[in-house]
């Protein structure tokens, strides 16, 4: 199993190379292809536009099927967040959990990938094949026992809890052990850095920690950036984790908070508010995407992580 993943991903790095663009002549087929592409991309953007449109409609008219609201109800954006006084809390919770995941994930991934890419130690290849094997492990198998484990681990009153359930611990601490996909990606990347650089530093008396921090890490910045962005997105948008582990409302994340819209209105959902709230909650990831598009797209290509 391990060799398959290896080969596929290795081919990806090769593929990253720019291929020569040949001069293309106009042809009717290229025009047809272009039209199909334009139509398809229009279909992809429509749901997003519909979301913006709905978010600006009068709540009563949310379902009128029109694209341009009769009146731009900007107040939806403030009202959506005023129906529950905990929104501010949920933003802070989400930011804390997300940033801890990014920091923990980056440090652990960088350390572990270095061990696999640049150091020789007995058992390395065996441990690495375990890393590859966990990539294929369905998360559901560990879901229940992890919950049981966290319900037994003592939290010593942290966030008012005896055990890890109903605290941020189950959503943050595991990030500090690294995740197989990112370790694999970074290891491939680090292997591309010439060994001579490390050796020269070693002759100058640098220890591994210094080589790791001052030579290898600066050269892996693009990969680290891609990984940080993926961790950020996954943590921000995580639903199942908070659903399982966060029970008191003050500890909710934004994703759980959004669900409150459904329960707040007592049966009928206020779609205008829900769309306004949803857009604002999506905004941080959207902004990060627009700013760091290049890393996103390179990262997808490198990790082979598409449909998640």
């Amino acid at each position: 199993m391990a060799t398959v993943i290896e080969e596929v991903n290795e081919s990806h790095t090769v593929l990253g190379r720019r291929t020569e663009t040949r001069k293309r002549k106009f042809s009717i087929w290229r025009l047809v292809a272009w039209v199909i592409l334009a139509l398809m991309s229009f279909l992809f953007i429509v749901p997003f536009l519909w979301m913006i449109s709905t978010s600006l409609k009068d709540a009563r008219l949310a379902g009128d099927g029109k694209w341009i609201p009769e009146r731009f109800a900007w107040e939806n954006y403030t009202e959506a967040f005023s129906f529950n006084q905990l929104w501010g809390r949920w933003w802070i919770n989400t930011i804390i959990i997300t940033l801890t995941n990014v920091v923990g994930g980056i440090i652990s991934t960088a350390l572990v990938a270095y061990a696999f890419a640049r150091l020789r130690w007995p058992g390395r290849d065996m441990v690495f094949s375990l890393v590859l094997a966990t990539m294929m492990l369905p998360g559901i198998v560990v879901l229940i026992p992890q919950y049981i484990l966290f319900s037994k681990l003592p939290a010593f009153g942290f966030q008012g809890s005896e055990n890890w359930v109903n605290t941020f611990l189950p959503l943050t601490i595991p990030a500090f052990t690294g995740s197989a996909f990112y370790i694999f990606l970074l290891r491939q990347f680090m292997r591309g850095i010439p060994m001579e650089l490390s050796e020269a530093a070693k002759i100058d008396g640098a220890n591994e920690i210094r080589i790791w921090m001052q030579i290898v890490l600066p050269l892996t910045k693009p990969a680290l950036a891609a990984i940080a962005i993926f961790i950020f997105q996954n943590a921000w948008e995580d639903f199942m984790g908070p659903l399982l582990y966060l029970q008191s409302e003050e500890l909710y994340t934004l994703q759980l908070g959004l669900r409150q819209f459904e329960f707040a209105a007592g049966g009928s959902v206020n779609w205008a508010w829900l769309m306004a709230g949803s857009l604002v909650v999506m905004m941080p990831v959207l902004i990060v995407f627009l700013l760091f598009q290049r890393f996103f797209i390179e990262g997808v290509t490198l990790t082979g992580m598409g449909g998640r």
Binding site: T19, L37, R120, I144, F239, M282, G304, G307
Partner: protein, 320 residues
């Protein structure tokens, strides 16, 4: 994988640097190894044990042998959830694969505005989470945008699907939703296409091959390792569909939507373990047994695919 790296330090000090490097190596890898033992292997072993017990966290596990498994195989809802899940896997994966390869082929033609289109196709991937699922619940509402469009092209109101309210249309609704998140797949296939050497196409052109022949005989074989990897990870993901169904079915998540048509495997497992109302909950033994059965199914399918791969996946052998 086991590529030896030559170290100049090796001949200076015979074993000390090597030992030191061994220790450093284990230390650097320690976070993952500890996490693997603590959060993966440990829990897995425990779950294998609990699957043979009656256990609700608050009580001590009581050994009941294979009872959970035999109950599972007599559980109607188990079969229903398995059927629903297979439906999604069998319908969604082929459609997603064909659509992403198709779009990737178009993007690979170097058409004007290609960069922009690439961004547009990837954008939904960024807009995931609860917010996006609500958006689709809104679009696929009986009087939502999608049905409005069906009205525009002349489909009478009575013939428009009830989507998440009609057991016949819930799962197609999920697949349509899923089509919005194929941007990542498209990018990966596009990278695969860019890696096909031009010389292959040029050689085929000299032999007078048509565009279609080039796609079938060059592009697809060269892309097959990528397709294989994407299909495998896609199937593993599709088997574990949860959040979408959970949010779409809202308060009905305990019954899995209309007529249980959205009762997917993991949703049912979740209900057994954590469901707050309705049927008996905190059945950790039963839920663990369910998890292992799903693991077995996924493993079997993956092994079968690996076997099948020998027949259709093309690996370049030179230079490796």
């Amino acid at each position: 994988m086991a590529q030896a790296i030559k170290h100049p330090t090796e001949h200076k000090n015979f074993w000390r640097p090597a030992t030191r490097e061994a220790i450093t190596g284990w230390l650097f890898a320690a976070p993952w190894i500890i996490g693997f033992a603590l959060f993966t292997v440990g829990p897995m072993l425990f779950s294998a044990y609990t699957s043979f017990t009656n256990y609700s966290i608050t009580n001590d596990p009581v050994w009941i042998g294979t009872e959970n498994y035999t109950n599972l195989f007599n559980d109607e809802r188990f079969y229903q959830s398995l059927g629903n899940t297979f439906w999604i896997v069998l319908v969604k994966i082929p459609i997603v694969t064909l659509a992403s390869i198709g779009i990737a082929l178009l993007l690979n033609m170097d058409l004007p505005g290609g960069q922009f289109y690439r961004t547009v196709f990837y954008l939904p991937q960024v807009l995931a989470g609860v917010a996006a699922i609500f958006l689709w619940k809104w679009i696929l509402a009986p009087d939502g945008l999608f049905n409005n469009f069906l009205g525009l092209i002349g489909i009478p109101e009575s013939a428009r699907p009830g989507w998440f309210y009609d057991p016949m249309w819930t799962k197609p609704g999920i697949v349509i939703m899923g089509m919005w998140w194929i941007g990542g797949n498209i990018l990966i296939y596009l990278a695969g296409l860019k890696g096909v050497p031009n010389s292959l196409y040029e050689a085929a052109e000299i032999d007078g091959a048509s565009s279609w022949q080039k796609v079938v005989n060059i592009t697809l074989p060269m892309l097959s390792p990528t397709i294989f990897f994407q299909v495998i990870t896609g199937i593993i993901g599709a088997f574990q569909i949860f959040s979408t169904a959970f949010i779409i079915t809202g308060k009905d998540s305990n019954v899995g939507g209309p007529d249980g048509s959205l009762l997917f495997y993991v949703l049912y497992l979740y209900n057994r373990a954590f469901g707050r109302t309705g049927q008996a909950t905190l059945q950790m033994g039963y839920a663990s047994a369910m998890a292992w059965v799903l693991f077995g199914i996924i493993l079997l399918i993956t092994v079968f695919q690996l076997w099948l791969a020998k027949r259709w996946v093309h690996y370049e052998t030179e230079g490796r």
